[in-house]
Symmetry: D2
Subunit: 445 residues, 4 copies
């Protein structure tokens, strides 16, 4: 992922040095298990741990370059690493990796990395959820117009909008937790998963030490449906980010101006037009969401490996495992900051809410008319007539409120007195259940 | 979905008649709840149920056409349906749909349909799992070569191959169960989800009667992350289908011939070449998997609806909800039949296993040499040398077995006697843990 | 594709009857070529044509069902068709399909169908282009605000907006013409494309008669990169549809109201809210665009067939070839009608344009200041200051125009007199190059 | 893109330093055009060029860091760059960027970069085409079995296989040339594309100097359908790479062994199994193809920007423009090397070709029987019978050749003498048209 969209915490998980350190840990743990089982000498396991640990811990850029150099001859990354480690461990190094295959190391390491990445993403989501909850509670009763199809529908509150996003990210968090659980498995089962030359107890030992589950049946590799499900979970979270980002982009439109991304001192919105303050963070998040979604496509194609495995998944994962998690981590953190600092304009919300002459209460009138005995079809026609008349003349000298247009309609006024109409249109009804919904979403707290 | 890939059971879930019947049920239940709450007269709810139920039950092609005709005027599907029902129910029909919005009906109906579709898919998967388990147990100890990169690796059993697919589909089943639970929610919350004109107890009542959960916070619509997660779950299952189909395609290759799709009496493999018997079912499944995966892409784009909703998701879902579930249902059933009737050739499996002169036991020799004191690097080189010599001369008059080439190598024979080598290469080691793995996958049964 | 999004013209291209008629034409033409070359008796070719033509022409639902019935035995569609035809042609039927393979018929037929579909789509685009051009010319000088990031930027004209979409669809049309040319090839080359049993002159003859090019090298099948490129071309056109649909959705927003989809007499916007007039066509087009884009994903996966062919592409194409072209045809026609009938509100455009107190002219002032000697950075700061002051106080009693705020700034008024400022901000400059751009897009006509 | 899959030539195109150098060139050229038109003083343009050129040329890591530092304040990349340049140019810098908007610089720069990337990709394809042509000619007449559905079909030559891939990449090259032409446009038209403050002749001048076409109508940005079409073109080429890589993977299978990737001295195929020689390059290419295809998905979503532009495309392009072109460049070069060094085993090809007892000639016998008067259906049945008998007994003591089984069938021997049968099955017919096809693909050269 390009540096612009990378945070060091997530990048570190995917660095070559981190990868080699995890590889070493897997090999050392496996050796310890084998020593316990008597497969290799106890001194060998000790030597691997004692001489290997500092060597692995010291892996930095120079050591990575050295391993790369060995790989240019062997054309095999795990063998290059083992050779590098053997240089430091000495003859006992021959007991490393006994009966194992490269994928035992690679796939278990990937599981560790993906689990760590998931943990960071889950923490990111917790911060986002906290920000959303705080702003939702702050604006629990801030009236604003609800819009369907981009058209004013009925009033809602800004807090309710945020509660909906909160609930969506809470679901996303649960899916991520499930995906993390699925991906966190350990396979040390040899070339085709038969444990022909490695005892299953080695796998169990390493799994436990690394906090992983045992992969019940592997085929040299951990099956890729697990990874595909993981990337799909990221894609759904990314889509939720896009939904919230799109909301902010709409609210910041010049004609709407109900909310605005924080504009920093010194910030410039446009090289050409000094008057611009643009929702660039939200737009950026929209693009990042597209990227993260896009990575699910090759992840799904990775599932159908040939026989006990082919290595076509590897190049895909070398790119998308870091790229998808780094981009999503960045996006979640950016979104959280954006929500925390979002400037909200309740006065504009009210102004917009009232700008259409009251037609947004049309359903309540429709109900009152049907309750008063008019057929649903006739009621609809009468209310539609009054609403269209109001709408069409908005802002013109002939403009009348929806209420006035309704009362001017004989079929309506025959059934509803002005008082009855006002009761029907009472805006307090719109907010009567906000508490109910908040309880559903946030609990009683 | 084209008829060729459709089964009537799944098609029926998505027929217009089914949809209207569910719509009616939602409206009738909502009316009953409203009557209980006193929002509408009890007689109205009774009239809606008593006169509406037979009318809804009788919806067939002619009635669908009549509703379509009304829609051509109203340009609104739910209103067309309500008008059609009102024609049969009479004046009390005006109490139908009170305070509700179309999406209350549409989205709750979609939840019912998707839950039913999921139930059918889960049943399909159960049948597939049963077939896989039966064949896995049948071939638990049938030796076959495990292949990585398409190259012979080490022996495994055909049962183990199937056990891996079984475990993958079991995970797919769990994801489907989770996705079904997520999708099965009911929203009856009015135009922007505020319950401004409908009591939340109506929603609770309808949800319970339909076996759905209550949607905690809706915004006119049920949030589309639920649906996206559902289609992603289908996509991962489809990818698992492709993996198994690809395995069969490989096994049926002319050079491999280890398994073969059942060839029916009268079947013709090619219009040109009478000798052909092709794995056409597996290839077909490969294509169907691509389709089902492809449907996840627009499903993910559907999440970011504008404000409280826009209707862009609707056209996508009208197509992919039936198409993805119908195609996957068809694919699962086809795959199950294919596995049940798959002709398996153990003799060919053995012949292939033995065709490379024994090089597939190279790891065991490598381990024996390192155990005997040779360094990992030297052991690797010696074994690679012998293996390459064997491989290169395969089938030529100079051909020697891997064993012979090893023994001819002084560095090897210095450390391993022929007996020690035979012990190291004992093929029984390859199958020693089959029971362990079967227990992990299938339990102790 | 579901009937709701299907037009009969495009559906007809993909009907089973059409397919069989094309198959017959290919077989009959091939027989005629073979007769000319002496490969089969001339009477045979005549019998095939004379007895076969009426039989093929009469294929309707009953005949399709009969062919399906044969296929249930042979499990091969082309053989079923040949058997059906042979029933009518008699013994000479054995000279049909001589030396050919099924794909010779299937792929050449698909080429004919895709070319026909492309022709219809190109005609659709011509109608759309005509509609866009007419509305663009109509509103060539209708001022409206240009928006970047959803924020008012500088004035443009509504005609210019449409001209941009026109140019995009013109490019889409060219790509479609190129994709049509690529897809329109004929392969009659036998089981693996070697012409082992069929003369290349047969292929050349059939190609010419069907208006196709000869496929230079086929491998039983016409290579699928051609098809993938075709579906990608559709996907790009669909994305252009989404861009225009999104524009209309924005313009119809309650706060913007600059344009509106035609609202039919009797139309109802919402079952709940009689006041609603929603941009449902544009939203629908947005969803259709997602679908058409989604079909490109499996089309791309179809390219990498195994060896000389596998049949995994077939199930994909049976679905997406009709679905993608039918959906796009429907979308193009819907979009054309929507543009033709779009209600445009120039007064609202002007009102919105003027609603921000003139800050939309900020760049012109920035330029005037730099021309007058102020540094770019200082100019930017001064103009930003005045713009933000204007913006912040919009609609409040303290509100001042951008012009007034500028003149109140001593650093500005030191360099620019009120007259100079008015000259700089002259809105006529915004429209001075409209003619130039129209000439570029529409030519001098 | 990760370093592992990056070549410096392509990386350099996308480096920050390269980008800034192109930005400067655009600004300097625009200033020169403005000076000629009298919009800015001639000395200003000279100062920009004379002082700016060395400053731009010297941009390295330190300067990039300095620009990043400015951007942290302005939160705008182009303004940061202009500020950096102004520090070196002095007061005349205020005449830089006059009447332009950031996108004029950004999008024109992206066009230059994408055109350069396309040029490199086209050169890569030329090298690949040369390699394919050389190997195709080398193996023009090397017999090998053609396979459909993975099953032996009829003989072909290895050269013909390669000729098909050559033709596909030639089409890919043409699409890339078309996509390059489409993407190579220059827009310098100001904030909403109206040229309100910049003369169209500036755009024309810069376009010509940079070898770009003028964008006929821009809207602040160059329309993104151009970019989407570009990434689709890459995706189709990537799919072609996968097709060829898949072919090699199949040919290297242990059971097939007809071709093999070059195995370097010192190379190790597996950490566990010294005998392994895996087609890892081809598998790697398969994965890279998935990646490049995946990037087309967000590119298509980028088209539907809001109004005159939103910036959601930017984050996508910052990632996929380098990633897709770098990955494809790497893949093309890797594929070329793999083809050049591919080890081909004609003896294995012949052995495989002959391994099925001659059934691969079934079509020729079918034709001979129909020519001799048997009906197509009866001929098919007789040939199928003989082929299945041959196939089933392959390698068993009862095994008979297809020829013998045919002659043992009375209905066949009644019509065909042994000599007639041998004539019919003459393998020379399979290769008779190789010249024809080669002429079609490679011309007469």
């Amino acid at each position: 992922m390009v540096p612009r969209y990378s945070r060091p915490q997530m990048e570190a998980i995917w660095s070559p040095a981190t990868r080699y350190k995890i590889w070493f840990e897997i090999e050392a743990l496996a050796a310890e298990a084998m020593a316990t089982l008597g497969t290799i000498p106890a001194e060998a396991a000790r030597a691997i741990r004692d001489k290997g640990a500092p060597r692995a811990a010291a892996i930095g850029d120079a050591e990575v370059a050295r391993i790369d150099e060995i790989e240019r001859v062997t054309r095999h990354d795990v063998i290059a690493f083992l050779t590098f480690m053997a240089e430091g461990i000495g003859p006992e190094a021959r007991f490393m990796h006994q009966g194992m295959t490269s994928s035992d190391v690679l796939d278990t390491c990937l599981a560790v990395q993906m689990a760590r990445a998931a943990d960071l993403l889950i923490a990111d989501m917790d911060a986002l959820l906290a920000a959303l909850k705080a702003r939702a509670i702050e604006h629990k009763t801030t009236p604003t117009i609800g819009r369907s199809h981009g058209i004013h529908a009925e009033p809602t509150t800004f807090g309710l909008k945020l509660a909906g996003h909160y609930a969506e990210f809470m679901r996303g968090r649960e899916r991520l937790v499930a995906a993390r659980r699925e991906i966190a498995t350990c396979a040390i089962s040899g070339p085709v998963g038969t444990f022909a030359s490695v005892d299953p107890r080695v796998e169990a030992f390493v799994a436990e030490k690394l906090g992983l589950a045992v992969e019940p049946v592997s085929t040299q590799v951990i099956p890729r449906d697990r990874h595909a499900a993981f990337f799909c979970a990221l894609a759904v979270v990314a889509s939720g980010i896009e939904r919230l980002a799109t909301e902010v982009r709409h609210l910041q439109r010049s004609e709407v101006r109900e909310a605005e991304e924080y504009f920093h001192p010194g910030q410039k919105g446009s090289s050409a037009m000094p008057h611009k303050r643009n929702p660039v963070l939200s737009e950026n998040l929209t693009g990042l969401a597209r990227l993260v979604r896009g990575y699910a496509v090759p992840a799904l194609e990775n599932v159908a490996l040939w026989h006990e495995r082919d290595i076509s998944h590897s190049s895909v994962e070398r790119v998308i495992a870091p790229d998808a998690t780094i981009a999503l981590d960045f996006a979640l953190v950016r979104l959280t900051g954006m929500i925390e600092k979002l400037t909200i304009y309740p006065a504009r919300m009210t102004a917009n809410l009232e700008s259409l002459g009251g037609v947004v209460h049309s359903q309540k009138v429709l109900l009152a008319l049907t309750q008063a005995g008019m057929s649903r079809e006739d009621s609809y026609a009468a209310v539609q007539r009054a609403a269209m008349a109001t709408w069409t003349a908005l802002g013109t000298p002939d403009g009348r409120s929806f209420r006035d247009n309704l009362l001017a309609d004989a079929t309506v006024s025959a059934l509803l007195t002005p008082t009855a109409l006002d009761t029907a249109m009472d805006p307090r009804r719109d907010f009567a259940q906000v508490d109910t919904i908040f309880r559903r979403v946030f609990g009683d707290a």
